[in-house]
Symmetry: C2
Subunit: 240 residues, 2 copies
Amino acid sequence: MADMTEDIVETTERGSVMGRGTGGRQKLIEAALELASTTRSLASLGLREVTRCAGLAPNAFYRHFRDFDDLGLAAVDMMSSGLRSGLRERRLSLVRARKGPIVSADGAIVPSGREAIRATVGLVLDYVTEHPTAYVVGIRELNGSSPRMRAAVRKLLDDFARDMVEDIQQMLDAPMTDAVSMQEIGRQIIQQMTFFSMEYLEQPQRRDEIREQAERFILRMFVGEMALQAMTPKKKAGRK
Amino acid sequence: MADMTEDIVETTERGSVMGRGTGGRQKLIEAALELASTTRSLASLGLREVTRCAGLAPNAFYRHFRDFDDLGLAAVDMMSSGLRSGLRERRLSLVRARKGPIVSADGAIVPSGREAIRATVGLVLDYVTEHPTAYVVGIRELNGSSPRMRAAVRKLLDDFARDMVEDIQQMLDAPMTDAVSMQEIGRQIIQQMTFFSMEYLEQPQRRDEIREQAERFILRMFVGEMALQAMTPKKKAGRK
DNA sequence: CATGAATGTGGACACTCGTCTACTTTTTGT
DNA sequence: ACAAAAAGTAGACGAGTGTCCACATTCATG
């Protein structure tokens, strides 16, 4: 979540600032995320609880949001742009360092390909530990009670998957499989990574094991797909 | 969730029954699940709301539960015993009908093995549509705000995975891989099935596609594991 | 038959809730 | 300079909350 340093604003006798650009909206979003990432969920937060945590009066909520869904969607939107670009920058700096397949034509795992998977898993899980709030709240709302929140987080995961697939394609010499299968595998990897991420945050003593399991998972997906492709002869998709 | 037909009990002037065996505990659990499976989560339910839905006075809650975590854990416990045995019965009747591998020694998919995967996926997703409340609430609490609920649902998924692995081992002539890897794959399949299940419930128009994606996912996991095993020569685990 | 346990009840209590009205302060646009 | 917009405030309102006390009903046990 972007660290936002607010400009210094003098307060009135009342101890608050008013008028444009006072950052109340941002304070409400951050308060909700802070409360939702600890022992609460967004659905169980109260309006007065959030405004209290933000240091504003209850009615300030209605100056920025229509309802809690509105607040939640704003929170997801704020998190997603930062998370997505930050994660992608790191992965790109990694995959650009190497060019070649992960699985060779005869189905064997290329050592440097495996190393790239391992490094990618590492950077993703490191990223998770640096942004626990965003991940906890996001994954929690993925199956939460709000349909709009579920749809928003699902779309975010789809975006993550598309990014990842594009980055991997960039690293490969030739496509591993057709684009549709690649997108399907990308989504499934991202979905499964939500489980690894939550375990990684909640069970720090198992972190090495979780990294290895995530690496093996991704290898199984790629090796399995290559093998399935080999069993189903068809024209390979052109380079995108 | 087990359908419970209560014995006929005469009510007092007050319109309620009291004393032993009146089923108040059961009513509270069912009321909570009903509310939690629609537009709410367990964490956002109020005590009076649940007791009202159950048709009891607010204080009746304290006769059965200490707090909401207590209620939630009772609900998971009630769901899990029925879900687990019901699902397993169905799968066993399926896998007992055939004996043999899913992937042959040379890495090819055995047609009847693939058919078994397809049928198993089908029966699991049918089972999900028959028990939407249990799945929605269970998956929702998997990453919910209560650590005790998360641990309980996680354990339930682990149990599901162990059952599935044992059933598959029963169907296979010889073990596909070592027991530890098999358990890891089993857990990952069950975890991924939570995504397929939620999509299956929320996007009925995509059900055929979701079944196919789930089938391909499981095949990738097994074919990928066989291929990984073939690349890493080691003594195969003995039959369990 | 009496007693205790289980399990229900009504009512009270202090507190908190979401939402509204009316007002205040600050900034921006004309 | 003034008006409008943005964004804050206090206070009020009806409704609902969790929790407690004391009592009532039913069943099992000695």
